[in-house]
Symmetry: D2
Subunit: 342 residues, 4 copies
């Protein structure tokens, strides 16, 4: 850390900062410039040290040198991580397609849609059973009954399944049915939930909060990693900005920035970003071209009857066409579509 003193900081204030740095078992290197004194704090920094120094009088600001996450950082883990989810793999080299309906509505629709996405190239099945809905009056999901249907559909087609878990108290229940636990964007800083999935050993799909900086996002991954679960997959799904033509702004730069900073795989969710099926394929292709390890998309064969998010669901034919284009772009960049392991 580097402590930048205010222009008029007194010697007494400077001494107090030095004393406090040494009290934290760090070494203080003082450098007096024409306008300001700068003090380097060198050694084994602990969480909270920055705020302690910022609280002192005469301090203008404190500049951290190290990133605040360690386990998520590529600096201490240079090789890219590959996460296995049942027969599927997410990570370097291949592009993994995950698809399915927004919510599990009933056995029949789930069967139709899961067969369609399997046929057209998906290697994992998604489907919501516990839904996080902005309105208390919207469909909240089938709960455990939905998880059972999802498990059956996955087993029938040999596809691993992923579904969202909304609360720490539900982690055990949901883990009993799925191959991968999803943490939704609204729960990215639900730290109780992060700790709970960190103590579980199922792979986790951690979506980026729509107001989270990349740094905050990787800190949330660090919560899970620090509890011992190393199977974390990240997912860019749009951020809130002043531009409102689509539901969210697709921060495609997050893909290469996170790839540079972290060894964790990252996929993209163009469906929730766009909120409109017309734009899903373009965003999916942009994500893959930028280096994403896969996509997760919503598909419905009768979107006018969908109980949630019908406007953003791809029809099966459009999904098939999107997968063909993803395969072509991946191929152009020396990667290929992940297939289901036999």
């Amino acid at each position: 850390m580097i402590v930048i003193m205010q222009p008029g900081a007194t010697d007494q204030q400077i001494d107090r900062v030095i004393e406090r740095i040494e009290g934290l078992s760090l070494a203080a290197h003082v450098s007096r410039g024409q306008f300001r004194t700068i003090i380097g704090a060198i050694g084994d920094k602990q969480p909270g040290h920055q705020q302690v120094l910022e609280s002192l009088e005469g301090v203008e600001r404190v500049v951290p040198i190290m990133k605040p996450y360690k386990l998520a950082s590529r600096e201490f883990h240079p090789a890219s991580t590959e996460v296995k989810v049942g027969s599927a793999t997410i990570g370097p080299g291949a592009v993994t397609v995950i698809a399915g309906p927004c919510a599990v509505e009933d056995r029949d629709m789930l069967g139709r849609i899961s067969r369609a996405v399997r046929q057209h190239g998906a290697v994992m099945l998604r489907g919501g059973a516990f839904k996080a809905r902005t309105s208390p009056y919207d469909f909240q999901g089938l709960g455990e009954e939905g998880l059972k249907m999802l498990r059956e559909a996955g087993d029938e087609l040999s596809m691993p399944v992923v579904s969202e878990v909304l609360a720490a108290a539900d982690v055990e229940l949901v883990s009993g049915y799925v191959d991968m636990l999803q943490i939704g964007a609204r729960n990215m800083q639900n730290f109780q939930l992060l700790k709970a999935v960190g103590e579980c050993r199922k792979p986790v799909l951690l979506k980026r909060g729509f107001a989270a900086t990349i740094r905050e996002y990787l800190m949330s991954a660090e919560y899970i990693l620090s509890r011992g679960n190393r199977n974390v997959v990240l997912c860019e799904r749009g951020i809130k900005t002043f531009e409102t033509e689509l539901r969210f702004t697709f921060d495609v730069s997050a893909v290469p920035v996170i790839k540079a900073d972290s060894h964790l795989p990252i996929i993209v969710d163009p469906s929730h970003t766009a909120g409109d099926r017309q734009f899903v394929t373009s965003l999916a292709l942009a994500g893959i071209a930028a280096g994403a390890d896969g996509v997760i998309v919503e598909v419905h064969d009768r979107p006018g009857d969908a109980l949630c998010d019908g406007p953003q669901a791809l029809l099966p034919d459009a999904f098939a066409e999107m997968v063909r284009q993803i395969a072509a772009v991946a191929g152009a960049l020396g990667r290929e579509l992940a297939s289901i392991e036999k």
Copy 2:
């Protein structure tokens, strides 16, 4: 709702929309313009109707006429709500000052700080026991032990206390100690938690998520209200924008906009917004001048030793001066400081 068809929408697509509107037990009023057909859907709209219509082919967009919240809306509840929290009241006419340390650290510091804020004009005591921290390596709070200390400190000074609850599973525990449950910004869309506090009868302080629109914020209040708990107080505490001089951007306009739209009381939290004690008083005064029903601020007498958020804590003297200024501004606008009921 008003359905706006695409320019080239076919008669068949228009008929399908009309049929679907009628299937939802609504009446369809068709109006054919030079470039587009517009279809009004009149009657008792249900959640989810908008997405159903948006999913249909040929539909450009659907414009809702009614706000999606009812219980939170001033339209159906014109009088401003007053929320009683033990001996304190939050609502029209008075300005309520809530203060205390960021986190309960130990009995001694809590005693010192609570006496100071009580003496200088606070009528409620705040203090965190379960802390939501961005980093897994930061101090996470004393848990139940902290709640006990907070309760004791409040009882000793006859001040109602408020503390954050992080998970639905903890609502019962925390309710046993506090007079008001706080939902933090990061949990504003933790719908499980909202439902749990909605079923409890303790007053709730619901902070605005830092990426939540006012509409989404009021939908979260609606979650609590719809479960039967009508004692909800809102709190503006800053939103994420491109401006980073302060930790968050203080959306002071949220105060009058919410006052116009909703009957619920709203206070402001200048400490978390600013992240720097130097700016807390200015923001507090701005909030009160804009019509807020109170403030919640953090105070510490030794911020360099604070276990969390030391840089934003006011020293007791600065707190006293802030309360004096708040009283003056409130007085200028025909309001007064809330005092503790005898």
Copy 3:
């Protein structure tokens, strides 16, 4: 337009709105619902009508049905526009690569860099002579001397050239040297300048303002088109958001959204978006995969000596590799690199 009245609007207020609509030579269609009255205003809407109606008492809001731009809209001009810039073309089917240094510094560096980009696939040359710099103390460009050098370099290599014009008063001067006038992001709503280039007949590269919605952006294009200059090329170059890892957030969704709304070509500028050469190629590929008609990038062979924006300049080898990858992705999606017409 649709006028939505407030819940308690009086008959008198409603009558006043109807009267005002008819005074604007529009027809008023009134529809009284349970909670609100809605009034459709049908006919030939003029600019300013919306604000007139919003100003009336009892009006809650006015929802426009038509987009506010006509000449830029695909609704009235379904075929995609192709813009010719000397021997180069920007528009459907091909991917146009424009490259060069941030600023023209001297004849020697410009020669080296322009030969390098020409050799590796650029078909147009960029270079700044009038620079818009955030600081008054930064290098402001060589002015007309720089334009002369740029013209010479372009002529020598048979490459059309593009350079920025900063003020209406300079349009004639700059037009004398370049094949395409660039309007920078900070001038996207400098309406005097838009009018001036609209009256000129040189093609215009109009960059998106970093706080402009897509709608505002197309309104700026409309300014140019409405003065008679139909050769407008759009360019996404990043928007301001809370995410600050890169200089701007690359709004890649703007590409397909604008393609759906407008017939104008759109390219991307990954250099200014990223501000860091490490991420330029990923963003360029994302833009092309999302459907952009080309890229404009900055190249420098000695970035440590560059007088502006050295950190974002690609080295010639990295540029060559980027063009190879762009060609591969374009090919995968049925498009090809634009080449120089013989």
Copy 4:
């Protein structure tokens, strides 16, 4: 500046950075930590030095210590500046009210409105003659004819007048009529215009761009100051964020943050921020309570007939009430309304 090297930076890269720092006539202080090497660059930094160092290989980032503006900074000019505009003064101690119509429409309306605002407490008159409108089809102002009317109205009531100038070429013309030149938000980074008003000696009202950070805003003030014009008044008028209930988000924190950083006066414009007269007074009061030196607001007596921005114009009675409340809040904080000098 402090140069932070990448974790794996080589000795050769470090040497190259040191050499470059010394080549810029600065001293290099090297500090090797466990994970990274840090190099301080001490001495007389010049514009552009930061980018030069960032361009070098092995550099992770460069942290500037000094703010990039000098003339606008309170660090080198501790006393608050007072700007005289004819008989009015803007600066410490008093609260200056500027009011008038959005646009000068005709002599009659201007007379009515200027008399009303004068009577109710305004000490300066505003009115647009050259209008920056988002749409090319909107009313663009009366031009010089409007300036003449504004001058006459001001003279008749002994009120100094302020009006916007849109282009460097118009500075001389507009200066001939007004007492203060306004630079609108869309032109805050129109550097040609900033230079032109910097060379003029009329006071300048520089509005904050709606996507400008406070730092960028002060850099734009620096442009004007560095050309010799020291009479700059700043104005917060809202920024673009994801929240769209009002036209812009009122960044009231900009007031105290700028007061801490700069000696220049700052006022607020609640009319353009809100875009809706219902919220103008609350925002004005918030701005004054936060420390603003004044307000500029739009007033119209027949907003339904206004040629621009009718929805945000206060009626004269509401204006009078707002001024009364501003006076009360100012009084509560030890300040008073500025009055017209006799």
